[in-house]
């Protein structure tokens, strides 16, 4: 009896905690589903009385460039993902297979780099991109974005490379494989899950977190990522919240769903970086 009560109490506490964690997402969903007349009630209704999808259509009428902004974010995500993979995969291989000089220093650099956020490099990144003539280009956004996905990508991949026994490569050498063939045909397929995880993680970050960078690197509205593009729902006098929440819902569900797939790997990467110091 007492045990049952404790169980029930725990369920209640968990649900309270979840209520807090899901409150804004719930707010987003119900606002997106409310009809225009219902969205502007005071006090607000706690659930949509007559759910409708009209906001998901009207959002394109209010901000016709919405698909363009999503497309930009998609390109930023893809670019960041590509650079992260191309640079991080060899680096992770090198770190896990060789006793490279200054290996500890390199790992320290990665852990340190992981502490940086765009805001700390805003001035110099602006300065460098200006010097390279890259201001107001997609490439600037992709290069700058990759700085912040690189550390975790390398740490995550190298901890995964460690799990692939060297004997597998060595067997391939014995069979007369060159090192590059052994890596491409034997090792990489084995770390494919981690590579997919890194690709998705970098894509999500490129899609989601280019907000600050866009503030200084981009002037043209045509290059805005979706997080900036959502500001088009703000006008001088009012904010079109119902349509904004519908657009936010679409823009947020993509990274949220993808994140569920890779969350386990990211936690591994975050804890693994420390292990090998």
């Amino acid at each position: 009896m007492k045990k049952g009560l404790v169980k029930l109490g725990t369920h209640v506490l968990v649900i309270l905690f979840l209520a807090f964690m899901l409150l804004p997402i719930y707010q987003m969903a119900i606002t997106a589903l409310k009809a225009e007349s219902e969205a502007w009630l005071t006090p607000p209704s706690l659930y949509p009385r007559n759910p409708t999808l009209e906001n998901f259509i009207e959002m394109f009428e209010i901000v016709p460039r919405l698909p363009l902004f999503m497309g930009n974010s998609f390109i930023y995500g893809l670019g960041v993902s590509l650079i992260s993979l191309v640079v991080a995969v060899p680096a992770a291989y090198g770190l896990s297979r060789y006793q490279i000089p200054a290996r500890r220093g390199i790992i320290f650099l990665l852990v340190y780099a992981n502490m940086f956020a765009p805001i700390m490099l805003l001035v110099p990144l602006y300065d460098i991109m200006r010097a390279l003539g890259l201001l107001n280009t997609r490439l600037a956004m992709i290069l700058a974005g990759s700085v912040f996905t690189m550390p975790l990508s390398v740490l995550l991949l190298s901890s995964y490379f460690e799990t692939v026994p060297r004997s597998i490569e060595e067997a391939a050498f014995v069979d007369g494989c060159s090192r590059s063939r052994a890596i491409l045909q034997v090792v990489l397929p084995l770390v494919l899950p981690a590579m997919v995880a890194v690709a998705i993680y970098a894509f999500i970050t490129g899609w989601s977190q280019q907000f600050v960078l866009a503030l200084v690197l981009i002037q043209s509205p045509d290059l805005m990522p979706i997080t900036q593009g959502l500001y088009q729902f703000f006008s001088r006098s009012s904010v079109r919240w119902p349509e904004l929440m519908a657009a936010s819902f679409v823009a947020a569900s993509i990274p949220m769903l993808l994140f569920m797939l890779v969350q386990r790997y990211i936690v591994q990467g975050l804890t693994a970086g420390s292990v090998k110091m």
Binding site: L46, P90, Y98, I106, F108, M120, L125, T227, M256, L270
Partner: protein
């Protein structure tokens, strides 16, 4: 591990043989991370702004400015006020992250029916873009139409809606809550991983001893997960210090300057209030931020090493 019985010459060759793999990453970080850090240091000694990009040497002028400049109509030295505000704001957000994160992790660690569903739902917000999370929080806290006021009024807890983002103190607290919310899934997941590594037999032993759940938590579980909580909290401290999106989206640093933390101030001085600042002055302010982050990173590494000694 490498075979150490080879001759030193062979070992050296083997060591350098791996270098080409790491080189692209090192070059990338050299250009876009290390050079920028030194560039900030360099620019912090120059007068330079977006209006006039040719740097003019001013020595320590920007640092002197940071420690003396008073924004017209605001109290105190602009930079120092913002720094102090940042420390309090970060402390508040972190307190929420650590306490709620530990609580959430412990709750989700309990053997309950549907635990996997609960866990999935709890970390769902992790993938939400910060800017969108902040916009949604602003709407959730909206005075007239937001759910928070709506619920509080229905429950009879308040008579008039609260303008959460309209006055200095509420805005300060509200942005910290939103920031804590953004960082919570990370805390929960990391602490949960720590809890899962606590040996069951220790808890069982305490159970046999007749310890109550609370005593078991404070005397057995908490000391065991302390290293995880500590390292996670330090990592989170740095990220919270760097937090820009929630405040920028929700209040732009206002009302007045109530939520103008260091990241917001750096952006304002560097890119927005060109009349008062410029990139040089923003660089001097960034240097303080870099020093803070470096200090915490060193503390983080020390804590990590400590926790490894405990666990191994």
């Amino acid at each position: 591990m490498l075979n150490l019985q080879r001759s030193p010459g062979v070992r050296l060759r083997t060591r350098w043989a791996g270098f080409p793999y790491v080189l692209p990453m090192l070059l990338f970080l050299a250009v876009f991370l290390i050079y920028p850090i030194f560039r900030v240091l360099y620019l912090s000694f120059f007068e330079v702004s977006m209006l006039n990009m040719s740097p003019k040497w001013v020595g320590l002028g920007n640092y002197v400015w940071a420690f003396t400049f008073r924004m017209p109509g605001q109290e105190g030295v602009y930079f120092l006020a913002s720094l102090g505000r940042t420390v309090v704001w970060v402390g508040l957000s972190l307190l929420l992250k650590v306490s709620l994160g530990t609580m959430g992790a412990v709750l989700l660690h309990q053997p309950l029916a549907g635990r996997q569903v609960y866990r999935t739902l709890a970390v769902l917000p992790w993938g939400l873009p910060w800017a969108i999370a902040a916009m949604t929080w602003a709407w959730t806290m909206n005075t007239q139409f937001g759910l928070v006021n709506g619920m509080l009024m229905r429950l009879g807890l308040i008579e008039k809606p609260v303008a959460f983002l309209g006055a200095p103190l509420p805005a300060f607290l509200s942005t910290a809550v939103a920031d804590a919310w953004i960082g919570l899934p990370f805390m929960v997941v990391m602490i949960l991983a720590g809890l899962q590594s606590v040996p069951e037999d220790l808890l069982d032993a305490a159970l046999v001893d007749g310890a109550s759940p609370l005593v078991r938590f404070f005397r057995v579980t908490l000391p065991l997960i302390r290293p995880v909580v500590l390292t996670t909290a330090l990592l989170s401290t740095v990220w919270t210090f760097n937090s820009f999106d929630p405040i920028w989206v929700m209040t732009r640093g206002g009302p007045v300057s109530a939520t103008e933390t260091l990241p917001i101030a750096i952006y304002n001085v560097g890119f927005r209030l060109l009349r008062f600042g410029g990139l040089g002055k923003a660089s001097a302010m960034t240097m303080v931020q870099v020093l803070l982050v470096t200090g915490i990173t060193l503390g983080y590494l020390r804590a990590l090493r400590g926790s490894q000694e405990v666990s191994s």
